[in-house]
């Protein structure tokens, strides 16, 4: 089914090298990928496998050492600040740690207003902006009246992460890069947040690139899965195919390492 959809983000031989000489580290090594519109893609791997580096390259926050990235079929151009801002209208992110994602000196209103301004709503009357912010907050089950004039650190972690989703709701990007958005959050809020992400995907038909180390979670939400080990994709395909019938030994190990409640956990494989 995914093959029929248009390509949204495509990479050919994307490589990132840090340092040079003896200190050279290849964080992402010559990876190819093709993310389709409206698809939920999971990139799964353990810590240090290069997931976050890849996501920062996709976001254009760090440069790509080699290879090319195609955005909506065309090679992306983020050479100037203006072009970068244009690119970021199409791709947005939710970060792992909600507590460090906000500038603690700015009020919540300014976070949401920035999004409205970015979507070209700078000249709208305040009532209109207020209505948009209220709508975005109610989408994630938050009451904007309670949040206005508050600082982000006055919220709980789950509320902060939901506010992040409200931000995405206002920005309506083509691609959302979610870098372990639920790893710092308790299990109950986790389900709510995943639910909201899925709801948002349906609402604005965006691609979600879900970066996680939790293969169970990846199976639960994604259409296709990329397994990453030491900067390389060792396996990719539909979620059911990859996780139920893993071919690579690494995928096998990742699946075995998921703790199961009713089974003794075999630490010898870790």
């Amino acid at each position: 089914m995914s093959d029929k959809r248009a390509s949204c983000l495509k990479g050919n031989g994307v490589t990132k090298v840090f340092g040079f000489g003896d200190k050279k580290t290849v964080a992402v090594n010559n990876v190819d990928f093709d993310f389709r519109e409206g698809e939920i893609v999971s990139i799964v791997g353990e810590s240090g496998s290069g997931k976050t580096t890849l996501s920062k390259m996709l976001l254009g926050l760090i440069s790509v050492t080699e290879g090319e990235v195609l955005f909506q079929g065309k090679p992306r151009d983020i050479s100037t600040g203006q072009k970068k801002r244009e690119y970021w209208k199409g791709i947005q992110a939710i970060f792992q740690d909600p507590f460090s994602s906000y500038n603690m000196f700015n009020k919540i209103d300014s976070v949401l207003l920035d999004c409205i301004n970015m979507r070209g709503g700078k000249s709208l009357p305040y009532e209109k902006k207020f209505e948009m912010m209220r709508e975005a907050c109610s989408f994630v089950n938050l009451e904007f009246k309670e949040l206005t004039n508050k600082y982000p650190f006055e919220l709980s972690g789950g509320q902060m992460q939901r506010l992040m989703i409200a931000r995405i709701f206002l920005l309506k990007p083509k691609i959302l890069l979610a870098d372990e958005p639920t790893s710092m959050i308790d299990a109950c809020s986790r389900a709510t947040i995943l639910d909201m992400l899925l709801k948002l995907r349906d609402e604005i038909n965006m691609t979600i690139i879900f970066i996680t180390h939790d293969i169970g979670l990846a199976y639960y939400i994604s259409d296709s899965v990329y397994i990453m080990e030491h900067g390389k994709f060792v396996e990719h395909g539909k979620a059911e195919d990859v996780i139920l019938h893993p071919k690579a030994a690494y995928t096998q190990r990742l699946i075995n390492d998921v703790p199961k409640i009713y089974e003794e956990w075999d630490l010898s494989t870790v």
């Binding site: 920062k56 992110a93 740690d97 500038n103 000196f105």
Partner: protein, 416 residues
């Protein structure tokens, strides 16, 4: 913000430092409003007058006199005979005058003088005494002659026609004047300096100038340090390499030597207070740059900075709103230290004669320099330099205390 301020004012170190500094600042501001005198007016016609109240002799003589039944003699005797003289007199009386030690009371000047006048004989047998000591006793005896006489002082005026002196009045020894009656009097709380200037007034004026020097130097150093630190930390790459190289270069050159060389090459005539302050600032920005850079490097990859980038903010806005507020407390601390070191650097430069050359303002360093040049420490004029030293010490002490207090609040690991 409000919470931080409350926290800051709960730190005892900061509060003590702040109180001392505020007190100095208030004194410097209020004193010139109360005492309207030119701080650089050369009041005293001579060097280093002692602290005290000076009353006009003419006014005192001509003013209302009060007779008080006070024993004036012992008072003035005490003033005239030093304690070492008294001890020498006692020695002589015991050794050569045949007076028992128990009969001599050094504290009772009158009885001592009585004993001395009855027993002292310059021709007495004084075996074992040095010739110089013998002559000293003769001199002492001569100076004591007439000391007990209680004669009125005659006031005379010259008659402008005949040129003869005419007696207009007498002053008895028990006559007093009330200092409040004397119209012309001036109190020098800290005496006068080598130019005859009132040290207290000059000191407060100099403190004001020195604080200005510290402030200008601090602002210049902090602005340069902040700008270069933010630039190199945030941009990274080649810009970072170049700025770090320059910073390291300036760090290894002793900044004080650099300061001396620049001050010297600027020339005596051009060195005003503001210029010297700017030069001090220009040579002391390196540590601010280094620490701001390292803080910015750790901040620039934080998620909130990334989020700000994704929200389409310009680099300027990210630096100003997402990075600067996070390092503001640190910058304030560095700024306080820069003020303190700026004041000290000015004092050091001025002691070497390379400070502000202008004779229209005083700075703390210049006051010390003048006191030193006119040998105040040698002739015992402590008031010309000691208050200056205390003032410099108090300013740096209070600023450093404020800095330590802030440090304990913003670096919780140091909190005791």
């Amino acid at each position: 913000m409000k919470n931080t301020l409350r926290q800051v004012f709960h730190s005892p170190k900061f509060v003590i430092g702040f109180s001392i500094f505020a007190l100095i600042l208030l004194t410097v501001i209020i004193y010139p409003l109360v005492v309207i005198a030119d701080p650089l007016e050369m009041v005293g016609n001579g060097n280093f007058f002692k602290p005290g109240t000076y009353v006009s002799v003419k006014d005192a003589v001509e003013g209302t006199h009060y007779t008080l039944n006070i024993d004036v003699q012992s008072g003035s005797l005490d003033n005239k005979i030093s304690s070492s003289d008294k001890d020498d007199m006692k020695d002589w009386l015991i050794k050569y005058g045949g007076v028992a030690e128990a009969d001599i009371n050094v504290n009772d000047v009158e009885s001592l003088l009585g004993l001395w006048q009855t027993h002292y004989d310059p021709d007495a047998d004084q075996t074992g005494i040095l010739a110089s000591k013998k002559k000293y006793y003769v001199r002492l005896n001569n100076s004591l002659n007439g000391i007990l006489e209680d004669n009125d002082v005659i006031i005379a005026k010259e008659n402008s026609e005949t040129g003869e002196l005419e007696q207009t009045g007498t002053i008895a020894s028990k006559e007093f004047v009330n200092t409040k009656d004397v119209a012309n009097r001036r109190t020098f709380v800290l005496g006068t300096d080598n130019f005859g200037r009132d040290v207290l007034t000059e000191l407060l004026d100099a403190t004001k100038t020195s604080l200005r020097v510290g402030l200008i130097a601090g602002v210049v150093a902090t602005l340069i340090g902040l700008f270069l630190g933010l630039l190199s930390g945030y941009l990274g790459g080649m810009v970072d390499n170049i700025i770090t190289f320059i910073t390291n270069l300036f760090t290894v050159i002793p900044s004080f030597i650099l300061l001396i060389l620049i001050s010297y090459s600027v020339g005596q005539a051009a060195r005003g207070v503001n210029l010297v302050a700017t030069i001090i600032g220009l040579t002391s920005w390196t540590w601010t740059t280094r620490s701001v850079r390292s803080q910015v490097i750790s901040l620039r990859n934080r998620d909130h900075v990334n989020l700000s980038k994704l929200s389409g903010h310009s680099m300027m806005r990210i630096v100003l709103t997402d990075i600067l507020p996070y390092i503001a407390s640190y910058v304030v601390m560095a700024f306080i230290l820069q003020i303190s070191s700026g004041i000290l650097a000015e004092a050091q430069l001025s002691m070497l004669g390379l400070g502000p050359s202008t004779s229209t303002t005083a700075t703390l360093g210049l006051m010390m320099n003048w006191a030193n040049l006119y040998a105040a420490p040698l002739n015992g004029s402590w008031w010309a330099y000691f208050p200056v030293v205390i003032m410099i010490a108090l300013i740096s002490f209070s600023l450093n205390l404020m800095n330590t207090g802030l440090d304990q609040i913003f670096n919780p690991q140091l909190r005791d």
